[in-house]
């Protein structure tokens, strides 16, 4: 304090001093501390030198040692001393000793005393090995570099690396690794991302299925496994990309009517032929990643007049348009469900028209990631009046009128509707859905930044459609980097639309995805998940990338949704500290503290 006062009176402050003072830190104090430390260090150094001198004197004086030995000794001390004596004797016989002695021969003084002093010195050196120095191994005698991990041998000397290792193994096995009784984070996150929270052991069925999948190469045949179990095994193997022609054989059963293989990338033309030839009564064929599938496979289906009703193929890109048209005109009339994904080099509008004309009893149609389809295809699909489930995702831009026309034509019959990536669709589409659709239970409308909040709110107000079970409105939002808060009149699903949605469908809703709908504000969440609200069936909720969601909202969600199993909150950075119910998987928190059943996960 004194130093500071004088400094104040003598000099104007520096900016740093001022700043430090404002934070209650005294510059003078720091200076004083520093000086004190320097002084202390200097004093300590001086002390050490003194001590060393003393020690040197003591070592030079042989009587000094004798004095110590006259003091009364306990038995332990005696044995220790005896051991030390033995060690010194041994040391005296060593090469090192002889070499050092030879170096000292010029020194004056009695030989025996000098020997004793040298031995002592070497002893003390030995007891304090310095990492980095060279040393001879006590067991094998090899020269090695001492490290902090070098072990001490049976006689007190050091051991080289290999002897240390042997010594350790010989001594005792390392204690068994203690199993972490808390939640192991990695394992947990892994399970969470798959969407399951496991309480207690897995079911016996799951254990067996996993075990079979792990040892699939040893399985000769599945016997009478029921189809649902085979489907699960197929899932696991496909996920591991382990379906080879040999393993495919396990799944081929002549009397089965369905086949689901989710990864066919390792199969070739012969294998597809084998599937069709060994399973003539197939009615449902679900093959994914079928890139190697060629025209001749579909030709074979046509020739055999296969009784397919459900055909699901992912990425059959080597099949030509001509072949698709032929397939539709021949087996199209009996198809009930057609799902195709990832067609970029074939399947154009004209093929879509043939499909629409031929598949006269089709109930389910899913066309996703199609590069060549556009307005013409939409117009063709509008004529498929039997459709009950429709899912479309085209890579081309389409006119809002075409999709509006489609919804007006098919709306009354539709039970599920999924429209992704129709970026030009506008409010008229939503109005059309409001007016025409009466039977929807599943509705997806994503990736659009034209439809307004107002229109979405009106869709749900007074809608004669019963409450929906599945809703996905992800990425319905305004995208304008310069104006992150969006326009005055909100675009996409925002507060009003969200409240109207929950008002209309909250009672039946099982799954809700409003990720990236970032204009839903906190008040709307607070209103929707208020103290008197209950959403008894909601199991899965995705509210990612809405920065308004905080701990309070998240806790309110847990309270309002007793059946909740999965909540996805990527990019909700205001979630910091949550008490998570036992069965809920919370996915996507960053650095938040999650407390599950008393155990904390960070």
């Amino acid at each position: 304090m004194y130093g500071r006062a004088t400094a104040k009176s003598q000099h104007p402050h520096s900016a740093l001093t001022d700043f430090l003072a404002s934070n209650n830190i005294s510059a003078a104090q720091i200076q004083d501390d520093y000086n004190r430390r320097v002084a202390e260090a200097a004093r300590a150094e001086a002390d050490e030198e003194e001590q060393q001198e003393e020690q040197a004197e003591r070592e030079a004086d042989p009587d000094h040692e004798e004095l110590g030995s006259e003091v009364e000794e306990t038995p332990e001390e005696k044995t220790r001393k005896r051991k030390r004596q033995q060690a010194i004797e041994k040391l005296k016989r060593s090469k090192e000793f002889a070499r050092r002695k030879a170096r000292r021969t010029g020194d004056p003084g009695d030989d025996a005393d000098a020997d004793e002093a040298l031995a002592d010195q070497m002893m003390s050196e030995k007891s304090r090995p310095i990492p980095g120095q060279l040393e001879n191994c006590e067991i094998c005698g090899k020269r090695f570099t001492v490290t902090p991990y070098s072990k001490t041998g049976p006689e007190g000397g050091l051991l080289c690396a290999s002897c240390s290792k042997n010594q350790k193994e010989g001594n005792k096995k390392a204690p068994p690794k203690k199993r972490n009784s808390g939640i192991s984070r990695r394992q947990n996150q892994n399970a969470l991302l798959d969407g399951h929270v496991r309480n207690g052991p897995r079911s016996l069925l799951e254990i067996c299925i996993k075990k079979v999948a792990d040892n699939i190469d040893d399985v000769e045949e599945f016997g009478d496994l029921p189809p649902p179990v085979m489907l699960k095994i197929s899932h696991i193997l496909s996920r591991r990309r382990a379906i080879t022609p040999k393993i495919l054989d396990l799944f081929l059963r002549p009397h089965h009517r369905t086949l689901d293989i989710y990864d066919c990338a390792k199969l070739d033309t012969n294998d597809y032929h084998k599937i069709l030839a060994t399973m003539p009564s197939l009615t449902r064929l679900n093959l994914r990643f079928v890139t190697p599938m060629k025209d001749q496979i579909l030709e074979y289906m046509i020739d055999k007049d296969i009784k397919l009703e459900d055909l699901h193929l992912d990425s059959p890109n080597l099949v030509s348009d001509a072949c698709w048209r032929k397939l539709f005109s021949r087996i199209g009339p009996r198809l009930r469900s057609l799902k195709l994904w990832n067609l970029d080099s074939a399947f154009d509008d004209e093929t879509a028209q043939v499909m629409a004309q031929s598949c006269r009893s089709l109930q389910r149609l899913k066309l996703k990631y199609f590069w060549k389809l556009g307005d013409e295809a939409l117009r063709a699909i509008s004529a498929m009046e039997t459709l009950e489930h429709l899912s479309l995702q085209f890579m081309q831009e389409t006119q809002p009128e075409s999709i509006l026309h489609l919804v007006s034509a098919l709306g009354p019959n539709l039970r599920s509707l999924s429209l992704e990536n129709f970026e030009l669709a506008d409010d008229r589409l939503v109005q059309g859905i409001h007016n025409k659709c009466r039977n929807l239970y599943k509705f997806r409308l994503t990736h659009n930044s034209v439809i307004t909040d107002q229109a979405l709110a009106e869709l749900f107000r007074g809608w004669s459609n019963p409450a929906l079970s599945y809703i996905d409105f992800s990425s319905l939002r305004d995208v304008d980097m310069a104006n992150p808060d969006g326009p005055e009149e909100p675009i996409g699903l925002a507060s009003n639309g969200f409240m109207a949605l929950m008002e209309h469908s909250g009672s039946k809703l099982k799954s809700l995805n409003v990720s990236s709908c970032r204009h839903i504000n906190r008040d709307a969440y607070e209103e929707v998940f208020g103290p008197d609200k209950r959403y008894p069936q909601l199991k899965s909720l995705d509210i990612s990338f809405d920065g308004h969601v905080d701990d309070f909202i998240a806790q309110s969600i847990f309270r309002c949704c007793p059946a909740l199993k999965k909540m996805v909150v990527f990019g909700c950075f205001k979630i910091r500290d949550l008490v998570v119910p036992k069965d809920v998987a919370v996915i996507g928190t960053v650095g938040a503290k999650l407390t599950v059943d008393g155990a904390v996960q960070v």
């Binding site: 939640i183 496991r198 079911s203 079979v212 040893d218 029921p226 155990a599």
Partner: protein, 117 residues
């Protein structure tokens, strides 16, 4: 000892009325092995718990004795071991999977599918 091969000596004989409070149940395999374990443990299996539920009116609910004509003793023993394993770890997180002999895996799988456990 909840898991024994001996029949339970105090079973009401003849069984006259349903006693859902009966603590132990007997599981019998095709080849006559009997496993006696606590009702609560056996009810891990959906099938067994439905068999033993008096509301469904099965004989098993009265006698507390379930005979499985499609499961042999070796497999049923593994299943019973699973019941005990499940019961022991029911409130734990991240439980290690139970060890099963590989050669019996498919048969246990069929039994597990049937027993819904």
């Amino acid at each position: 000892m909840p898991l024994t091969f001996k029949p339970w000596p105090f079973l009401p004989n003849p069984p006259v009325m349903a006693d859902p409070a009966l603590k132990y149940v007997t599981l019998v395999s095709r080849d006559g092995f009997e496993f006696i374990l606590e009702r609560e443990q056996a009810c891990v299996s959906g099938t067994i718990s439905r068999m033993l539920d008096p509301k469904n009116g099965f004989v098993e609910a009265i006698t507390g004795r379930c005979v499985f004509e499609n499961i042999n003793g070796v497999i049923l023993q593994l299943v019973c071991e699973y019941f005990l394993y499940n019961h022991r770890h029911r409130n734990e997180l991240n439980v290690e999977d139970m060890e099963l002999p590989l050669e019996l895996c498919l048969e246990v799988l069929m039994a597990a599918d049937y027993l819904d456990c």
